[in-house]
Amino acid sequence: MKKIKPILLKVMTFLKSLLIKLAIPLLSIFFGFFAGAIIMLVSGNNPITGYAALFDGVFGDIYYFGETLRMMTPLIFSGIAVAFAFRTGLLNIGVEGQLIVGWLASVAVGVMFDLPFVIHLPLALLAGAVAGGLWGFIPGILKARLHVHEVIVTIMMNYVALHVSNHFIRNYMLASGQRTEFIPATASLSSDFLRGLTDFSRLHWGFLLAIFACVVMWFLLWKTRKGYELRAVGYNPNASSYAGMNVKTNIVLSMVVSGGFAGLGGAMEGLGTYGYAQILSSFTNLGFDGIAVALLGASTSIGIFLSAFLFGGLKIGAANMQASANVAPELVEIVIALIIFFVASSYLIRWVLNRLQSNREGK
């Protein structure tokens, strides 16, 4: 009995610190949903049926659950991409563009070559990662060499990516209407096993790759020397430079790895969900949502996984909200935006929490 007590105490303190870490994202989510409920009330909908429909739209049927996992797959990759750069003190707004070129490159390799499965699929994935990495390299090198702010360059690179890949698809790869040919089975991530498991949803092997990518990100950043350097540069580039680290190389490296993750996210769409690349009429928004995922997930692997699930679920459940509770699908966008808003204003939540705590201690 006596031995158990200190262990229990340790567990308690651990849980407490975890709870404080979790407080901001959880409170943000709560506030987001709460404000969403009031908006529903004001616009004449019942928030309880609305949210019930949302919940049902994710968990009610194995098909939609499979679609939710499918939806969160590229979000995990784009979230990791944003978080990885962020850890090095870089704001990679260009995930969207890196994802688009990764999508195109992976499909291009998928369509053009005729190889056995064991070579073809890895090669296609690699092509996606390399293309994304290249797209991240340009703003990286500009930042390192010429101090051009990466936000500006990456935003511009998004447009370049969108229109350049549309150009290539339209002029060299167009098969029917808006898209390229379907990739052959040897380059495809789609899985009859997972489809069968989820009643014909488009869930594919990429989901497992996404989980693996979370582990890789954690390992790279926290378990390798290079990862330590990257984070150090993020905390304080001057101090890192003084400590003998090459800040410029680390900036470029971080952007390349970040772009590589984003490119893989695009490959998920190209090789998994769709099986082709299409002329995009506008941005996919997967890259921009990655910013939200990384922010809510506090740039940690597990956080990114969970918040990708939340956003994926919100997006898939939104259609059911509309179909069975007549709530406009835009409401979900508002809820997402509000969650981000609250996360971004986490300073306020932290301040309130501190005040509460000091009040209690004062008594």
Binding site: F31, A35, G36, I38, I39, M40, V42, S43, G44, D61, Y63, Y64, E67, M71, H163, N166, R170, S176, G177, Q178, R179, F200, S201, R202, E269, T273, Y274, Y276, Q278, I279, S281, S282, T284, N285, K315, I316, A318, A319, N320, Q322, A323, A328, P329, E330, L331, E333, I334, L338, F341, L348, V352, R355
Partner: protein, 378 residues
Amino acid sequence: MKKILLVFLFVILAFGTLLAACGQADEEEGQAGTPADTQDTTDEETGDDTDGEADAGDFNVKMVTDVGGVDDKSFNESAWEGLQQFGQDHGVEVDYIQSSDASDYAPNLNRLARDNTSLSFAIGFLMADDIYSVADQHQDKQFAIVDVVIEDEDGNTVPNIANITFAEHQGSFLVGVIAGLQTETNHVGFIGGVEGFLIKKFENGFKAGVKAVNPDAQISVQYAQDFNDASRGQSIANTLYSNGADVIYHAAGGTGNGLFTEAINRARNGENVWVIGVDKDQAEEGAWDGGNVTLSSMIKRVDQAVYQVSEMTMNGNFPGGEILEFGLDDEGVGIAPTTDNVTQESLDAVEEWKQKILNGEITVPQTDEEYEEYLASL
């Protein structure tokens, strides 16, 4: 402390409410926008209302919009109007699901099939691949798609998909005739959405119409590569008007709304510029306090097509596997009923060319190659 929280919450709520209110107003506007003729039919309908419902049984028709949504003031909106009309006339349940991006198409179509929808419409050719796989997984369900013909690997149509297409090139030819006759600068423009076979039909039909009546006219063509970007539409319109075009025809969905904005701005400054609308009568979009910049519109009766296919299906004649083309002859395409800005001369010319198309004197080109041949034959 509490005060700050309160103020904070209040700001968020006020902001959210404002957004919600905007959304609602939009919806109401959309519903108010349905043509007045829905009003007429409700009166007739009340008499045999119960009758209709009994006939219909569990029959229901639903549609999936593409990313434009049901208030895109063109294509999706027109389909939804037709569906609502059908619902009113026959006491049938109708509904729609809006897609917020391309990856939503498959789950949305799947949702309709799973909910035992009697007939599910996919509005727009962007859903071609998705409807093919969904229809394959639900072979006992009935589907219809607008604007494209779905074929399997062997080039056969699919038995549980009805393919609805339009002869847009013919309708575009007629508005091209109007543009060719009424341009004063002898320069007209065309704004396309995303380049592809479908929008090329609009472009080539239009160009052929202009050249038919005005062989010397200059035609500028530009694609926005987006169906949903009004600001891009406006900047393209700005370029085209600045380069001397005075009539611009658009086949660009929501992107075209920017064309109207630009034209109205210029009209306010006293310039003489015109817009030709697309898909539905866009006179409403061109109205401003000093007049109307909409010259005419190429209407594509998506509402009629949706209505007719729904009716056929309800009566047990689902046109699965068939390719239905709605053209000039069954008024599937044509010029808008609002002709306030069109001269009598143009109207006569439109009638004349319409007859020529109908009795096969001319074949309106659809592709770039056909257009080249057509030009050579002039």
